[in-house]
Amino acid sequence: MTTVLEASELVSGYGEVEILHGVSLRLDRGEIVAIIGPNGAGKSTFMKAVFGLLKIGSGTVHLEDEDITGMPPERIVRKGMCYVPQSENVFPSLSIQENLEMGAFIRRDGLRQRLDEIYGLFPDLAQRPQVRAGKLSGGQRQMLALARALMLDPTILLLDEPTASLAPKMVEDIFAKIHNINQTGVAILLVEQNAKEALSVCHRAYVLAGGHNRLEGTGPELLASEEVGKLYLGA
């Protein structure tokens, strides 16, 4: 199993406030790894730090043996890692097709082919590609956000709470889609509030709390764990 993403003792935060006090994580090729934990644990912060959206105080991030610590997002995207923010993750005044085109902005060739491939993965989007993204429902928007991030055919996909504020039916659909995407060979790092669902779909998971690693294990292990069940799987 080759490691595609490795973060080591990452320290980061917002301005002068430190949120992550040394978090480590490993993602192997083709895996789905979930990050769960209570509110304020630093899950989203971790993802942003990895993707270069936040300043890293200390620690390293490696993408397939290359040190990408503190690299700006525009360059990380070129290395094969794409990111889907939790909210405001589509361009509302652009059409579905235009959103996808923006996803592949840095790629000049093979756009039409890639579009067809993505439409194949997301048949709902293919139905009305000229519709303005702002008019889509929450679930459709989330699908579009995923599709946009896949336009560059990334090795790694970072998903920040993809099912936040979605109806239960849509939550199922999203997780199904995540599973599909993973089947095509994309490694996925997933931050989730919905711990139970996340643990059911992932290969391994990390539990973060208070900016530190707390637990680590495979999905089934953590699902069965009493400690995790008591603290985090209540909802």
């Binding site: 997002p73 525009e74 923010p85 405001e88 361009f91 923006m102 902005f105 840095i106």
Partner: protein, 359 residues
Amino acid sequence: MAATATAYGRLRDYQQLVGQFLTGPGLPLLFLGLGLWAFIGRTDAFVIGVVTGSVLALGAIGLTLIYGILKFAHFAHGDSMMLAAYIAFFALTGVMVGERTDTKVLPWTLSDLPGATKPILNFSFGYGLLMAMAIAAAIMVVVFIVLDRLIYRPLRRRRSGIVIFAIASLGVAIAMRSLILIFWSSFGRFYVPGIRPTTELPFGIRILTDQVFIFWAALVLSALTYVILFRTRLGKAMRAMADNPELALVSGINTDRIIIWTWVIGGGLVGIAGVMLALQAQLKPELGFVLLLPLFASTILGGIGSPQGAFVGAMVVGITEEVAVTLGFISPGYKFSVAFVILILMLLLRPRGLFGAKT
């Protein structure tokens, strides 16, 4: 008691209905209706208004792009137009203010090119003016980019609020106006002295042929901007940035490059707009600030970020300004206040403007 309650309730219902009407299709229909009346009833003023609107449109399109993509109210836009106009003037005549009066500073100007001042077609100007306009536009692009690097980018890096940007651009506006006054003083100036040729339009209206040129320039450039924004990769990226700058960054779009292109288009338009303005009226330094209100009114009326909105908004403002002063009870001095009234009404009733997205 109950009777007044229902009466009040009905009033609220009407108010809501009007509100919905205006935020929906109502406002455009209203404008269309008023426009039709103005066209038929006050044709002369209407036509002049279209010309004024054309000049405003050229400025408003750049303004709406900067406002939408860079997210700040560019208070230096009006004075930038003036700076461009004076640069063109200088390229054409080489005149600056010397000790007390004008002196010709440049040994050679564009007017010295063979046939440069010979009027094209029925216009008052020759290709010299067009070259001067191109030079002014190019210089303004450079000026804008330099100002962005020196001022606006550091402020962006610091995540300054819109207020700081507004004040900074106001400082720039003042600096530009002072610069103009230092070199060219406050005399009114013309590109081409003397009487200018006119053209006859249908309905027996006579306007300067130059004004026909201005209208077509505005229309063509608006259409061009629309095409760029909606049919090119760069344009889509610009719209994406206007929607969500961080998502654009996350998608790998080189946001810095987009910002530069925004200033390029804005600078080019400002250059052309300034020269058109000076062609249409006299060249005076104060015009820069006076223009701000109509420019912003046009932009907000049309919807920030929409070039077709800026065009339509500018037309509405221009026509309303000219037609309003033909109504007996409004004296001519209030012409620019008309833009202000439109602005306030829009902000209150329909802040997203005509073509803005419903949030």
